[in-house]
């Protein structure tokens, strides 16, 4: 006999509201229906009422974890419409903040995953490290969540003492290399809880068009930083970790390896930080009529902004955002089919979902 178990929208296993209706036969999940929209704020429509300064502040609030990524993508799109390319120093600062956000996101996710595994010590360790990442972001921007770093044509704040930031990053990297990485890559507790569950095959990943670590953990070698470089990524050396198995362990492994790659990118960017201006363009920004699209590799995968402006317009005539979780969410259905009911919280968490992003 099959029966339906509702999970969410408010549930101890979910960090944000969404709902999974699980159709089960005994303890086995046969199918699932996903319900989102509990965080819907109508931000795309709201953006049409905001000027070019206000819209940056608005879209920074799409997500609380990758807030700077959203403004970076939006500013890159608007820079195409205003002919205000960022100067080299601003490009490097954008890379540093973006990679710190990736560290923040991945470490936060590691903590949540550890909690769902019942691995409380790891949860506490991850959140302690997350605080240190936020300390670095605070040292750079003065803020711990919405950093207000990006503006059209560059960045608002400089990294005045790169050596001090470098010392903080190196200490963090050492600590992560001692704790999170070995535990997540070799611990039998993590492996026994995650291996072989929530499998998303490469064929299914390609068919669903998933992005970011979810795609890379299913053997899809896709990363916008490398495939369509933006900011200063073309001047930096880094690897794109790809794992073929497609299970929760693979997603764990990909993110663990990406943490080390992000540290490598930040170290290089701080060492090569060029001198110069923080932004181009004068105070009066002029838009041309047209549409521009920009993509960035956010911690959870590719985010795309499409911005349309009419000449002389004070606000965007259309702003469309496709966030990574929006592309990855439908894959949860494929991942939980055939899974044990008890594994579903961990499986759904393994895509590192962000409903704030999804719902906008």
């Amino acid at each position: 006999m099959s029966y339906k178990i509702p999970m969410g929208p408010y549930h101890p296993a979910l960090e944000e509201p969404y709902k999974l209706d699980l159709i089960c036969e005994g303890e086995t999940v046969q199918d699932a229906k996903l319900h989102v929209g509990f965080n819907f704020r109508g931000m795309e429509k709201l953006a049409e009422t905001r000027n070019y300064i206000q819209v940056v502040a608005l879209m920074e609030r799409v997500c609380g974890i990758c807030s700077s990524i959203h403004t970076q993508t939006l500013c890159q799109a608007m820079e195409e419409l205003t002919d205000a390319p960022p100067p080299p120093r601003a490009k490097y600062i954008r890379v540093i903040v973006a990679e710190l956000e990736r560290l923040h996101s991945h470490v936060l996710w590691a903590g949540i995953a550890a909690k769902l595994m019942g691995f409380k010590t790891m949860f506490m360790t991850s959140f302690e490290l997350r605080e240190k990442v936020m300390d670095i972001l605070q040292a750079i921007s003065g803020n711990r969540v919405n950093y207000s770093m990006n503006r059209i044509g560059g960045v608002n704040r400089d990294i005045e003492d790169p050596q001090a930031i470098l010392r903080m990053v190196e200490a963090l990297e050492k600590e992560m290399g001692r704790t999170i990485i070995p535990i997540f890559t070799t611990s039998s507790t993590a492996r026994s809880r995650c291996a072989g569950i929530g499998v998303l095959t490469k064929e299914k990943a390609l068919s669903l068009g998933v992005v970011g670590p979810v795609a890379r953990a299913s053997g899809v070698p896709q990363d916008i930083r490398r495939d369509a470089p933006y900011a200063a990524y073309s001047e930096l050396n880094f690897d794109v970790p790809v794992v073929p198995d497609g299970d929760v362990t693979s997603r764990l492994l990909v993110r663990a390896l990406e943490i080390m790659e992000s540290c490598k990118i930040i170290r290089q960017a701080l060492a090569q930080l060029p001198p110069g201006e923080l932004y181009t363009g004068d105070e009066k920004t002029q838009f041309i009529t047209g549409t521009s699209a920009s993509r960035v590799e956010a911690p959870r995968g590719e985010v795309i902004y499409s911005v349309s402006w009419k000449e002389g317009g004070k606000t965007p005539s259309r702003l469309h955002v496709r966030t990574p979780t929006y592309a990855n969410m439908p894959a949860i259905r494929a991942m939980v089919q055939g899974a044990r009911l008890a594994d579903t919280p961990l499986i759904q968490a393994s895509i590192d979902p962000c409903y704030s992003c999804t719902d906008r």
């Binding site: 390609l206 068009g209 495939d227 369509a228 699209a293 993509r295 469309h320």
Partner: protein, 141 residues
């Protein structure tokens, strides 16, 4: 700026379009696609080339002009755009050819009341129980 690229050139060749790709602000456009190729043919060819559907952006055009859909595909890091101006706010669904289109079509149906022919809609994606069109269309039906 007109560009020549071997990877995406073979796509236009397969579609039977001789016009060159036009690169405009980060997107390679094949502007003539809407007049010569149906969306289902396009989706099929994109699938053959293992291109990834990134998103579909909808625009409400002024007055009675209807809706414009811009389909974005990625092939090896190149973003390709295909505009389709809709007659009677209706276009064929590509969900059965390209699974990645499912949620995107549902959202556009919900935002702009665009009818994607050949598919059924589950309840609203973002505002379950509400009326289609209230999100982004200026006048709701």
């Amino acid at each position: 700026m007109k560009v020549a690229m071997s990877g995406i050139d073979s796509i236009s060749e397969k579609l039977g379009i001789s016009d060159p790709w036009v690169e405009k602000r980060g997107v390679h456009w094949l502007e003539t696609s809407a007049n010569t190729v149906s969306i289902r043919e396009l989706a099929q060819v994109m699938g053959d080339f293992h291109a990834r559907l990134v998103t579909i952006t909808a625009y409400q055009l002024p007055g009675e002009e209807g809706t414009l859909l811009e389909y974005y595909w990625d092939l090896g890091g190149k973003l390709m755009g295909f505009p389709f101006k809709l007659a009677a706010n209706s276009i064929d669904s590509i969900y059965d050819i390209c699974e990645a289109a499912d949620w995107i079509e549902r959202e556009i149906h919900e935002e702009y009341v665009v009818n994607f022919v050949g598919r059924e809609y589950e309840p609203l994606l973002l505002r379950e129980g509400d009326t289609p069109g209230v999100n982004l269309r200026e006048e709701t039906i």
